[in-house]
Symmetry: C2
Subunit: 113 residues, 2 copies
């Protein structure tokens, strides 16, 4: 990961609403959440949320796909892993995690069914 990409990703997460959105998407796992559902859950006006989703998307931290009339957003786990990797390699002493567990979707949500 290049430092410009890291800066984009850090900047995308460095905002109250966007961090909340990203956390929510991580919690919702692979199935993700529709924009409207996010807006209601977080109490953010649709147009404001749309702005923040675009920022997260440009930073590569989230992905979206259309399902019927809704746009479903979900966390891009590999991107988050790359950010964590960048930070541990470049901003720590290079003594990070050597297991490859890292950043994976929260499966427990899905397997509850």
């Amino acid at each position: 990961m290049k430092s410009t990409a890291a800066i984009s990703a850090l900047g995308a997460l460095a905002q109250e609403h966007r961090l909340a959105v990203f956390r929510k998407l991580v919690q919702s796992g692979e199935s993700g959440m529709a924009a409207g559902a996010l807006a209601e859950a977080l109490g953010i006006p649709a147009s404001s949320l749309s702005f923040h989703l675009a920022q997260l998307r440009h930073a590569g931290l989230i992905l979206h796909q259309r399902r019927h009339r809704s746009l479903i957003y979900r966390a891009n786990y590999p991107a988050m892993n790359a950010l964590l990797g960048y930070l541990t390699e470049n901003c720590c002493a290079g003594a990070p995690c050597d297991n490859d567990a890292a950043c994976v979707p929260m499966e427990q949500e899905r397997q509850s069914a």
Copy 2:
């Protein structure tokens, strides 16, 4: 770590010059670097650098102490660990590193003597 602290830390790192400063301080290990040395190494005017150092300091990511006429800055490793911990816990699936290695100073710089 609270999410407000995480946002401060993320915001502090989400800037070209500040990320460069922090990386430089990580590289320089426990001994740190003086503000002037940083300014010269990174080609940033003193007053601009001072502004960025203040941001990093307010975010808790760096520490400083006076040595003779210079102010020596150094990375606050525990703060960086806390940020990494926050991100792996809240923005990943809670399957982070379970070893406690994490973020430690780059000792190889010092032990070269």
